[in-house]
């Protein structure tokens, strides 16, 4: 009845995304301010903690840390929230036929909206350090596209699997902290033994986080493709599998809810 990428499809995704953003702050005093306050508070707390208690041999550690946390938080919040999504939205799914991928996309895009607010705040801070340039903004745009693409893929995959296998939620809960430490957010790969550093290349988040760190805390103009090529490859595979499973199963979701 509906086509992918038709006007109705875009309207649907748009309205669902607005709903997601609005509903989040609707009943909260100061409403929208929280969208800005949250990342600022996080910046302060993390900056403090790591600056004074766990010193690392990394320049501008606060900036370094925040550059990695931004994409990681977006990524982990989104796919954790999307995993039980179809079950949480069963009332809608059992009501009518509509493009169900919009459920996942609305979560991704509403979190992207929050990521962009945090990024804008961060950019204001980074200007004082003076690393940004048009060149890096272009790379930032490409990196965010990769991040969003991968996040959509893994969210589709996990939300589809969860409809059939309810222990996926526990697996995800267990994997998130492990994945965090397997991504060079609080450390750099150069501090690790070569074999482990090399193995981490196959985690797509490594490439994404390192690109963010390159954009915001490095004064180089050249970045290494070391973690980027395997990362793009693997995120591509995961996303293709996610889209395929979702397309195959989404018409039967109701049977399992």
């Amino acid at each position: 009845m509906f086509e992918y990428f038709s006007k109705y499809w875009f309207d649907f995704v748009w309205v669902m995304t607005l709903k997601e953003i609005k509903a989040r702050y609707k009943r909260v005093f100061l409403g929208f301010l929280w969208a800005i306050l949250n990342p600022i508070l996080q910046m302060i707390v993390i900056g403090f903690l790591f600056q004074f208690f766990i010193p690392m041999e990394i320049d501008n550690y606060f900036y370094f840390l925040f550059a990695g946390l931004l994409p990681w938080n977006f990524f982990s919040y989104t796919f954790s929230k999307c995993t039980p999504l179809m079950l949480n939205e069963r009332a809608l799914i059992q009501k009518a036929k509509f493009p169900r991928e919009a459920l996942v996309l609305s979560i991704v895009f509403s979190n992207l909206f929050h990521l962009i607010i945090s990024l804008l705040l961060f950019v204001i801070l980074v200007i004082f350090v003076g690393y940004l340039s048009i060149y890096k903004i272009i790379i930032l745009f490409l990196t965010i596209s990769w991040l969003v693409f991968f996040t959509i893929g893994i969210s589709l995959l996990l939300s589809t699997l969860y409809v059939r296998y309810r222990d996926i939620k526990f697996i995800v809960q267990a994997v998130v902290p492990l994945w965090f430490y397997a991504t060079p957010i609080i450390y750099t790969r150069s501090l690790l033994p070569a074999s482990i550093a090399s193995a981490l290349r196959f985690n797509p988040m490594t490439g994404i986080v390192e690109l963010f760190q390159f954009i915001f805390v490095s004064n180089n103009l050249i970045f290494s493709l070391d973690a980027i090529i395997p990362g793009i490859l693997i995120s591509f595979i995961i996303t293709i599998v996610g889209i395929h499973l979702f397309k195959r199963d989404n018409e039967y979701f109701d049977d399992w809810l």
């Binding site: 609005k22 009501k95 036929k97 296998y165 309810r166 018409e251």
Partner: protein
Amino acid sequence: MNKNIKKVTRKFNNPLAIEVKNVTKTYVLRHQKPTLIENILYRPKKEIHTALNNITFNVHEGDRLGIVGSNGSGKTTLLKLIAGITKQQKGSIKVNGRVVSLIDLSAGFHPDLTGEENIFLNGLVIGMTKREISEKKQAIIEFADIGKFIDAPLYTYSSGMKLRLGFSIAVHSDPEILLIDEGFAVGDENFREKAHNKLVGFKKQGITIVMVSHWLWELERSCDHFMWLRSGRVVSKGNIKVLKKYQQYFNHP
């Protein structure tokens, strides 16, 4: 005279609204929540339940089909398949025109959003475009009769108000095929009256209706074609005689 004949022949050659061909719908029976670990460790045996077994029928435009059958005969599954909420394992279903189902009318609202925001959300879910919703918003609000609550979040609504809002959105979406599950109009007397009038209006407009009910008098009043389902198979279909047979079967099985 000539004109009249034309009209009559047209009625008999009405195009198909719903074409159901050899449809089989099965469900995997599960006694526990399925898990991935279990699936990897040992393949659990699958118990298959056949809800609909090789069903074939047509509904022409303007037909009003009433479906009877005891609990578990597959009536609701059939409505879900026509509505596109789920999909058959075998066979094909072709639907021409916008389907709107009056199933679970008060479901699918977001409790934190206002009535107006929910109209947009729900309208899109049942297949209206943004423009259509904008155009019909006022009519929807008036018919639902929720007054100043329209700017209040949905969690402040009574269940009757949610039901009225859901019904109002559904009937204002210009359905071409209307699916009605049993007990859809469970509001107060006033609302039931309004809902009934709306359905009579649809009947006059010649909208295709598929209706499921245990109330035979309700079906008799609203429908002109009937189908009897038992354990996922069609026992008989046709005119009002089907209802009589069904009644007899129940009195002297």
